[in-house]
């Protein structure tokens, strides 16, 4: 299933956040979204997932979600959004409880996604006992449990420390290698975008507009941090963004 934004504009209380954005997220590929702070990346992702209604334009699903998908459009959030009062397994079970599944089916799905993310040993742990990286792995396991057609990931690594980020990036590459999931992946981090994205859409400052879409053909598995081609793409993108990032940084808010 593909996702498409069709000439979408959006404003919050008079402040225009997105202007006439048209964008496609093709199935089986990771579409990265980069842009300076406050340019509307998270808003765009909320529009894609139906958590927000666009002021103008439409968010469209093209094609049918795979059979058995419990929640076709599934988020992975920056700050994990785990319920602190549920264990790891309980957090995953949460998203199954409103579906007509037998207890055994639920347990099976939970066990399956825990195994696929190598979290089986942590099923009974509380979120507070886990490091940030492990928490995000739990959130990914929870997303997988809903058998999504598209994963909508809002800076999934930016709350993690640099070393954990590296580890999780490797995990995501490996996961994509096996499951070829579809994703829209928002990030500030150009290294991440260049490492994980098949397509990279660059947004301008607020109001966010698509400035450029880069395609990277190197297979995910073969991308090395020191690959000169990738380093060059990253440098290009940074040139595109640097001025805008600096402007966004200097902005006063809530004055």
């Amino acid at each position: 299933m593909d996702l498409r934004l069709d000439a979408v504009s959006h404003a919050y209380g008079g402040v225009e956040v997105l202007r006439d954005v048209t964008l496609e997220a093709p199935a089986g590929r990771i579409t990265c979204l980069v842009g300076p702070s406050g340019c509307g990346k998270s808003t765009l992702l909320r529009l894609l997932g139906g958590l927000e209604r666009p002021d103008a334009g439409r968010a469209l699903m093209l094609g049918d979600p795979p059979a058995g998908s419990l929640n076709p459009l599934t988020y992975v959030f920056q700050h994990f959004a785990l319920l602190p009062w549920r264990t790891v397994a309980g957090n995953i079970r949460l998203v199954l409880e409103d579906h007509p599944l037998s207890r055994a089916e639920r347990d099976e799905i939970v066990a399956d996604v825990l195994a696929r993310t190598r979290l089986t040993d942590f099923a009974k742990a509380w979120p507070r006992q886990l490091s940030g990286g492990m928490r995000q792995r739990v959130a990914i396991a929870r997303a997988l449990a809903a058998r999504p057609a598209v994963m909508l990931m809002d800076e999934p690594l930016s709350a993690l420390d640099a070393q954990t980020r590296e580890l999780l990036m490797d995990d995501l590459v490996a996961l994509w290698g096996r499951e070829r999931f579809t994703a829209v992946y928002v990030t500030h981090n150009l290294a991440e975008a260049v490492r994980l994205g098949h397509r990279i859409a660059v947004l301008s400052r607020r109001p966010g507009q698509v400035r450029e879409i880069a395609e990277i053909d190197t297979p995910l598995e073969d991308r090395r941090p020191d690959d000169p081609a990738l380093v060059a793409v990253q440098a290009d993108l940074w040139r595109l963004l640097r001025e805008e990032a600096a402007d966004a940084d200097r902005e006063l808010t809530g004055a």
């Binding site: 299933m1 199935a27 927000e52 094609g63 399956d112 190598r118 089986t120 058998r147 995990d171 999931f181």
Partner: protein, 285 residues
């Protein structure tokens, strides 16, 4: 088994499979957000209020609310109008406001002082915190006879009673506030070699101020409640005395009028604290 990478997992029956060619027609993404942010509709509050009063007035007029059960709102309003016109309103409000002001000021000062000590010193915490906890559930009305002996039946006992009632919640709010001051700000102060006094005055106190102010909302509401108890003790004038007299004469109109005045006083105090908060805490934006 504990290798926490995702890659080597056996391929499971994942359904989010790749590249299925778009078959169905484009469908809009269904909306499922919004809600859980109650707000607005400022008209509903006054409306409900007017509606309630209206029903009540009508019930009293038509007789299914007997005057023994509830007074008629218009009669209550008439009592108020009479109090206002005759100037007796000020005769009662004046002393009450004075008692509230002095009593609360004493209680707040003592409470913030003790609360700070509990928040800053181990010895004070260990010694005083349990004592304050034990004092919290002591009903002040039960102690009225003692207050008479200790402080007499003039203003002193009224101040003392209100101050005592304000004291305990203020202590708890203050040391809770001090406990919640971001320790990293304190470490910052130490790392720049600030004196202990500077740290307390410039970091701990302002950091605890929001908690102290929101504690004041509760403790001043308690002060107003205690006004009635305080004016049990030989007060001739005062809103509390007015309410008590009305109660003992079973004069429901006056009783409700007095209670409404106290409630308005509570709302006024809460409004003033709101102003104070906006003033002192404008840095919160």
């Amino acid at each position: 088994m504990t290798d926490a990478t995702l890659d080597a997992a056996p391929a499971a029956p994942a359904s989010a499979r790749t590249g299925a060619p778009a078959a169905g027609a484009p469908r809009p993404v269904p909306f499922r957000g919004g809600g859980f942010q109650p707000s607005g509709r400022a008209w509903a509050g006054p409306l409900l209020f007017v509606l309630l009063i209206g029903i009540w007035e009508w019930g009293s007029a038509s007789g299914w609310i007997t005057p023994l059960t509830l007074p008629r709102p218009s009669a209550v309003a008439a009592v108020f109008g009479e109090l206002w016109a005759s100037g007796r309103l000020w005769e009662h409000l004046g002393p009450s406001l004075g008692r509230l002001a002095v009593g609360s000021a004493l209680g707040l000062a003592a409470g913030i002082g003790v609360g700070l000590m509990i928040g800053l010193f181990s010895l004070a915490r260990a010694g005083l915190a349990p004592l304050v906890a034990a004092l919290f559930p002591v009903p002040k009305i039960a102690l009225l006879p003692l207050f008479v002996i200790w402080f007499g039946i003039d203003e002193a006992s009224k101040y003392a009673l209100i101050a005592f009632g304000v004291f305990t919640p203020t202590v708890v709010a203050t040391y809770g506030g001090v406990d919640n001051v971001d320790r990293s700000l304190i470490r910052m102060g130490q790392s720049f070699g600030l004196s202990w006094r500077s740290i307390v005055l410039k970091i701990v106190l302002p950091g605890a101020a929001p908690a102290i102010l929101s504690g004041m909302r509760v403790s001043l509401a308690i002060a107003i409640i205690l006004l009635v108890a305080a004016e049990m003790l030989g007060a001739e004038h005062g809103v509390g005395a007015f309410v008590l007299t009305a109660g003992s004469l079973y004069d429901l109109e006056s009783l409700f009028c007095g209670v409404a005045i106290l409630s308005a006083l509570g709302l006024a105090v809460s409004f003033l604290i709101g102003r104070l908060e906006r003033r002192l805490l404008d840095w919160r934006g």
